[in-house]
Amino acid sequence: MMERMMAASIFEVLEKMFFIFLESGDFEQRAYANAAVVDFQGMLNGRMGLFMTRSMAQTMAANMLCISTHPVSNEIVEDCTGEAAEMICGTFLSKADPSGSSRLSLPVFYRDAATASNEVASSPGGLESRLGFDAGMEKMGVIFRFAP
């Protein structure tokens, strides 16, 4: 049930804001380069990490802002990745906690997905969900880690 909400949130954000249509796939940590991490507190407490290939992050930024020049600047890619993480987590919490008690931190961007993965793993957690997605050759993954 929770994982269906997570997946629905990810599809909604990627389709509406970034015009990217994902398919469910495997979580492939080694494929990811960029990442952003957001904490959430309220009825649900925990940390979410969004991971993706470098070219996926480039495509997302280019699509959102209708930028035709490649490569998109690192500053814009980092900002878009963080904003995507915040929107995915916020959309999930809107579904999972309709009371509206949950609050998000500001997103933190990581150029190194492994470091971001360690950051997510370092949060107090009882339950963890990992979801993987493909968009053509591009890959994206999300970890939700919930505090007990």
Binding site: E12, V13, K16, M17, A61, M64, L65, C66, E75, I76, D79, C80, G82, E83, E86, M87, C89, G90, T91, L93, S94, D97, P98, S99, G100, S102, R103, L104, L106
Partner: protein, 144 residues
């Protein structure tokens, strides 16, 4: 229709996206003002006349709800309409946003049409897209 708009969001990409949607909706911004948080927005408002504020809620230093509360304590600023654009999209949050004095609410993620609809409702205009002939690359915004 010519508007002085202030877009408040800690994401420069989101500010750019919102600016583009406003331009596509037929509103000419002369120029569009931008702030990365509520505190900077107040400073800009003290020095510039503004017709509309489009603000995020989750921002550093001063969040969107604190910004609206500050506006409502200032006689000179309290009548500026505010549209809140936020990832926090539950019904209770929406009620809180309207109770704070905001005139419009848009949940992120949103399509250009969703923001355009709320812009029309808040401004009371029968807006039409594309009047400015904006191709999305026009950058009339002043970054602060």
């Amino acid at each position: 229709m010519s508007l002085q708009v202030l877009i408040v969001d800690d994401s420069s990409s989101m500010r750019r996206f919102i600016k583009r949607v406003i331009a596509m909706s037929g509103f000419r911004m002369d120029p569009c003002l931008e702030a990365p948080n509520g505190k900077r927005a107040i400073e800009i408002l003290e020095a510039n006349p503004v017709d509309l504020i489009v603000s995020d809620t989750n921002m550093p230093e001063m969040n969107g709800l604190e910004l609206i509360e500050t506006l409502h304590r200032d006689v000179g600023l309290q009548n500026i309409p505010v549209i809140v654009v936020t990832t926090e999209g539950t019904d209770p949050t929406k009620r809180d946003v309207f109770a704070s004095g905001a005139r419009g609410f848009v949940k992120k993620p949103f399509t250009p049409e969703e923001l355009k609809k709320v812009l029309g409702e808040v401004l009371g205009t029968n807006h039409r897209g594309g009047e400015c002939g904006d191709d999305g690359t026009d950058d009339g915004c002043l970054d602060f």
